[in-house]
């Protein structure tokens, strides 16, 4: 009898441990990013992204998609195109050189409350025999220009399936499908996928002052997931 209870207990413990370990732990926004609620930054200077992929044009293209979602989260976003030209005018073409710059300098120079660094981690197209996909992955880090401390950080990847829909069975159907997939994958614009990635990543940022939920989203849960399809 005792043995039976013990073994049941063991099985129960086994399951509890297994499942609680797997489930992503939801945190409240103020637990995950407490400094955002203390400092309440309003204006954010987005630096040109740092491209860690082999796609040479990823940086230019990605930078066209970030102002919209960040402003909709309630922040003042400095005009990215203008900033990028000012930096070039100062002889700064690569943000890499700015990563080690003291964030407080951006307060002195532009009056920004926060500075956003973005690394493009993935930006690629893949095809295989009967399918294909486009992947965009980014890591965003917001630092305070008052304390120099990180305020918010999140990483996200979107994999968009570009496999063409079914077109009949048989060998001919397969060939047609392969051709259609190749065409669709090549023509897929990165912009909508980059936008989706941004929206996913920015869901976790506490709302800024221009957002109706500013300071009311402390108890909202954020789940630290990294990839969605």
């Amino acid at each position: 009898m005792m043995k039976r209870i013990l073994s049941l207990l063991f099985i129960w413990a086994f399951f509890v441990l297994t499942f609680s370990a797997c489930a992503p732990k939801p945190l409240k926004k103020y637990e995950a990013f407490p400094k955002m609620y203390n400092e309440r930054p309003l204006s954010i200077l987005v630096l040109p992204p740092i491209n860690e992929t082999t796609a040479a044009d990823a940086k230019e293209y990605y930078s066209t998609t970030i102002a919209e979602p960040l402003s909709l989260s309630g922040y003042y976003v400095y005009p990215i195109e203008v900033i990028s030209d000012i930096l070039k005018n100062e002889g700064i073409y690569d943000t890499e050189t700015l990563v080690t710059t003291d964030p407080r300098r951006f307060k002195e120079y532009f009056g920004a409350d926060g500075v956003m660094y973005i690394w493009i981690k993935k930006w690629n197209t893949a095809y295989y025999v009967v399918g294909g996909n486009v992947t965009v992955g980014v890591l965003c880090l917001l630092k305070s220009t008052t304390s120099g401390e990180p305020l918010w950080k999140y990483e996200g990847t979107i994999v968009q399936d570009t496999t063409a829909g079914g077109s009949g069975g048989g060998l001919i159907g397969l060939v047609v499908k392969v051709v259609a997939t190749a065409v669709q994958t090549a023509a897929t614009d990165y912009v909508p996928i980059a936008k989706r990635t941004n929206y996913m990543v920015l869901q976790t940022i506490p709302s800024g002052k221009y957002h109706p939920r500013f300071d009311k989203d402390r108890d909202d849960e954020v789940v630290i997931i990294k990839t969605t399809k």
Binding site: L42, S43, D57, E60, Y61, T64, T65, A67, E68, S71, L72, G74, Y75, Y76, V77, Y78, P79, I80, E81, V82, D85, I86, N89, Y109, F110, G111, A112, D113, D189, V191, K195, Y210, H211, P212
Partner: protein, 119 residues
């Protein structure tokens, strides 16, 4: 009969109850026209992007929304590149009026790109 009225009322609440939250900004085709211009930076694509910026300003005003952050400034910057200094200043001032936090940045920008060139 009474039942239908109630049902209609419920339907009404259902349909309009959730539609009250206005979007914060109208961004139009901003990223797609900018993307096209960056991909093929010719006159035509630049013109399209300018039209998109003007459209964002006009639509936002129609919808009674604030023009999104940076849009006045970006449009002013493009005008400045065309040598339209007066018009550019007008848009920079609108940016500052809408978003006072942009002041320090705009001051520095004007000092660098306008006064220095002295025309």
């Amino acid at each position: 009969m009474k039942k239908t009225g109630l049902l209609m009322l419920l339907l009404f609440i259902f349909l309009f109850g959730c539609a009250t939250q206005k979007p914060l900004y109208y961004w139009g085709d901003y990223s797609s026209s900018l993307y096209k211009y960056k991909k093929v930076p010719n006159e035509e694509n630049l013109k399209t992007h300018k039209v998109v910026l003007v459209n964002i300003i006009e639509e936002s005003n129609k919808m009674n929304l604030k023009v999104p952050p940076g849009v006045y400034c970006e449009y002013g910057y493009l005008l400045l590149k065309d040598g339209k200094k007066e018009e550019a200043m007008y848009y920079f001032d609108l940016e500052e009026k809408n978003y006072p936090e942009s002041r320090q940045f705009l001051e520095r920008f004007k000092a660098k790109f306008i006064e220095k060139k002295g025309n």
